[in-house]
Amino acid sequence: MISRHQRILFWVLVGCILAMASLLFWERERARDRVSALADATPIDAPYTNTESITLDLANDSDGSITAATRQIALPDEATARARALLEHLIAEYALPGSPHPLQSGAAVDDVFLLPLPVNGRALDASGNTATTGGTPTIPVADPNAIKPQSPGGELAVINLRSNFVNAHPSGVEVETLTLQSIIGTLHANLPQIEQIRFLVDGQPRETLAGHADLLRTYPSRDTTVQATVPDATP
């Protein structure tokens, strides 16, 4: 014979089990909804706007020229993503069959960083003030030799090329120079706030592109659409 208080305890325990099961089921549903909501908000495609007209400065090995060509492509709004997409479109043009400046296909640009000019370095803070982030305390240092912007808002573009692209690039003064001029001219035509351009390869400085064109210097952003000059042969 089960006593009355034991039966009461049994049913209370059963009630608790059911309540716990209901609570767990409800929490599980909430968590699933939360994850689903996050997944729904994750962008699948880059936030491109509609197609727009952009200018590519295209190189031609046969006469050493750079000519401007217009293309209708969709580009992201954000400036660094825009610069990177521009350069990927440019290099993709050179990978097409019959290109006048043939380059290997594949991703060429790892990243593009846009830094406001002048670019100043940072030094360790001797006063020992701890940074709010908990990292090493630093203070900005004004560099008197830093490149000054020619206009307010001028930026330095640091283009981080992939070593796969650089290692497969054809070697020669003309072909390497044309690639750099093509990149510089394309950025100048579409992102006028860029005033200076530097190149890295896999995040590191490299002396030359493929043995000739200097990758260590800072290039001014400029219009590179020049026709190769042929001097007058008459005396």
Partner: protein, 221 residues
């Protein structure tokens, strides 16, 4: 005096022209031909290398680009020709420095911008070389480029890149083609000899920018 810099050499083969031909061989062969022609015309010719290897004098250390510029700057030549070769394009490509002409005050880094006062002279030399090549019916491309060590040279300096005669890359090693190019260049340099003048600000006090410190295993001071 004329300075010839056959680019690359030793372990640095330069660009691969064909399976059996590298840039360093073409530049050296062109330098030999040009040196003979210039010597016959009364020039004193200095070359940065006269064999396959590119090493410092009396040392096994490889010749750096800064070393090549140092040799040129100490020689005080009336013209410096940096010889290159490529399988792309055709004819001859002439390049002068991309630096802006700055006859004024020294720049922040004089070694990397030493060519600036000479840019105008370099462009004149480039034009004369281009005219001679055009007269010789050799296809020509003229432009400006940043090719080390041209920006560190204190002389009228032009990068001469020999490209194939037509579309056949192996023609780069054709002796008659190289001879034709060398004769055109030599003829232009004879004409140039009487025109070369140092930049205005260097007429009174010839100066030479300090070379950057060399690594311990690298090059000479």
């Amino acid at each position: 005096m004329i300075l010839l810099d056959p680019a690359h050499g030793g372990v640095d083969s330069g660009s691969r022209i064909t399976d059996s031909l590298s840039e360093k061989e073409v530049t050296l062969n062109l330098a030999f031909k040009l040196r003979s022609l210039l010597a016959a015309r009364g020039f004193n010719v200095v070359t940065t290398r006269d064999s396959d290897s590119a090493t410092e004098p009396n040392s096994p250390n490889p010749l750096t680009l800064d070393d090549r510029a140092g040799i040129a700057n100490h020689a005080h030549p009336v013209a410096c020709l940096l010889l290159h070769a490529t399988a792309s394009g055709s004819g001859v490509h002439l390049y002068s420095s991309e630096l802006d002409p700055t006859p004024g005050e020294p720049a922040a880094n004089p070694w990397l911008t030493a060519q600036a006062p000479w840019v105008v002279q370099s462009q004149r030399l480039q034009k004369q070389l281009g005219t001679a090549l055009t007269r010789a019916n050799i296809p020509l491309v003229m432009s400006r480029a940043s090719v080390r060590p041209v920006d560190s040279l204190t002389c009228p300096a032009v990068v001469v890149e020999l490209a194939p005669n037509g579309s056949d890359a192996s023609s780069l090693n054709d002796a008659s083609y190289q001879q034709r190019v060398a004769e055109a260049l030599a003829a232009a340099l004879v004409f140039w000899k009487n025109q070369a003048q140092p930049p205005d600000r260097l007429l009174d006090t010839p100066t030479m920018p300090p070379m950057p410190p060399s690594p311990p295993t690298g090059a000479r001071p």
